[in-house]
Symmetry: C2
Subunit: 341 residues, 2 copies
């Protein structure tokens, strides 16, 4: 993925066709292939390379190993006036998220706040697409999911929490929503893996080795060591909260439970996701909430060098819509090979 590596130039439509074709060739039905390809294409569009075509080999591995169901038909169930559940039936997350989106939005509008519990899915993407989609409908949204156990508890040296991301989106009528999506670990696991492959150190605070000593050696973190949460015990608290929300609350797997039953095919864990959606129009300032938020955004960005979360992604998509994307040639060849092409 280094800037000097040879690349293949693709339009976003070509990215989508390549991804969907590869998934279909490995056992996805048309709807699942399209939904996963949508997510991959959105990541490439925003130049979030770690969640773009880079993920396809993992998706394919879980299709081929039988861990993930490429033909899953998600089932929507109403659990309470403010709660909708989607049983993902062992498939990848994108189609289950699509199935839950309209009922979640409808419940948020009618109740003011609502939850979407997704069970039995394999999440292998970023969380920002799902919160952004809700915010584009005028809702404030949260998403949480777990992973495999990579991160220590506060004061511990045994990996127990996932890199557990949380995402948040705020609607900005007439503009792209404000969105952030951040792991509970100090560094994303993918970045540690890339550092190991490229032979460079990771920043201090990223992880510990097998003896519990802080290290900047990515291999020591990956081989029997553990990742550290962001911001010390506060990040660990957030990782713990996310385990509770997506494990105990919705009746799905903690990160350590996902690992215990995994087949180690290199694909995503099986687990759950929680989303919350809030309709600002049902709170105390329905006429003015959007303009009020813009006051804050204006004040933040008035300072030189300060951007809002997600700004880089939003600018990237303006460029890639015109110029398409540059895909690492080795990755492109790998995907073509996996597609049987």
């Amino acid at each position: 993925m280094a800037a000097t590596a040879p690349t293949v130039s693709l339009s976003l439509d070509e990215v989508h066709a390549l991804a969907a074709g590869c998934l279909a060739a490995n056992g996805c039905d048309a709807e699942n292939a399209r939904a996963v390809a949508d997510t991959i294409t959105a990541a490439e569009r925003d130049i979030c390379l770690s969640h773009g075509l880079f993920r396809l080999p993992g998706y394919v591995a879980s299709l081929r190993s039988g861990k993930a169901n490429g033909r899953a038909q998600p089932v929507v169930e109403d659990l309470a006036p403010g709660v909708v559940r989607v049983d993902g039936k062992g498939g990848f997350a994108p189609l289950a998220l699509e199935a839950g989106r309209a009922p979640l939005a409808a419940k948020a509008r009618s109740q003011g706040v609502a939850a979407l519990a997704l069970n039995d899915i394999h999440h292998f993407a970023a969380l920002w697409p799902e919160v952004e989609a809700l915010a584009e409908q005028g809702l404030c949204a949260f998403a949480f999911t777990a992973a495999f156990p990579y991160v220590v508890a506060a004061g511990g040296r045994t990996p127990i929490y996932g890199t557990n991301p949380m995402a948040f989106a705020w609607p900005r009528p007439g503009r792209a929503p404000l969105v952030f999506d951040q792991a509970s670990s100090a560094l994303a696991r993918g970045e540690i893996m890339i550092a190991a492959r490229e032979g460079h150190a990771v920043p201090p605070g990223t992880g510990i080795d097998a003896e519990g000593r802080e290290t900047t050696d990515p291999n020591a973190i990956l081989d029997g060591g553990a990742q550290l949460p962001f911001g010390g015990y506060k990040g660990a608290s957030i990782a713990l909260m996310i385990e509770l929300l997506v494990g105990a609350l919705i009746g799905d797997r903690f990160s350590f439970e996902a690992l215990a039953v995994d087949n180690h095919d290199g694909g995503p864990p099986k687990g759950g996701e929680l989303m919350l959606a809030i309709d600002p129009a049902r709170f105390g300032d329905p006429e003015n909430f959007a303009a009020h938020a813009e006051l804050l955004f204006g004040r933040i960005t008035a300072e030189e060098g300060v951007r809002l979360p997600g700004d880089r992604r939003r600018r990237n998509r303006e460029v890639t819509a015109v110029d398409g994307v540059q895909v690492d040639s080795a990755l492109h060849a790998k995907v073509v090979e996996l597609a049987g092409g």
Copy 2:
């Protein structure tokens, strides 16, 4: 507050009577004095000294200056099936929180998830009491509030966000709930003020001076400098999220707006708070969610030296229930003086 300072020994009942009497002598009606004294006593009970009697001079300052209404009668309003609002009428937060608790819990049980928006309150306490109270009723709860602008945005050097705490509680039937309550700043502002008073440095990463340089000098942070968020840009994202939730969403003040209209009496800002409550019994694992969570807690605490968030507070309350508390003599004398005694 140093361990060697002279202290006065008080029972928790004496703490409560002292606090309530002091508040009543300065303009609180009986209900408001009792509610604020409950919060102060809970903090002393858990040996959270920064939110105990230590706060009384600030409460009194805002009563005497007329900023806070000591006779506020909170008004509860139903905004949506999942949303209840309490207009605090310019009073302190505790009585408004009490007024909102039962409707919030009832809505969470009937809808699955619900929100409580508190407007026009002065919050000068920790957030853990309100989430703990919900969790004691079997609910999972969140709380968020803003403050005055003390913390920079990611990449910035101008204070714009409050120290914006978020609290979370998980119910543990038959046991005290799991609770955490953490500021979005790297260090609590009170700890920086104590370091300045006692003449010692603060940890690296706490803040910057007026020229934007990182410093461990608490005076440089307090005098024209700014606090840093915990965990870099990720903590800043959480601070921003909280501004949006308690400012734009519920129609109340951002931290910078609270400062702009403050009278600088040393008491709390006027602003809002958001709580969310979730009933795990309305999700996918109603019979088993509590036992499932205990599996995780058991795994976390099986590691030597690892505690769950809030464990220290829970142990402290066992001690203080029997032994009472030791109050700094100078603080005790100050409170007695403020009470007109």
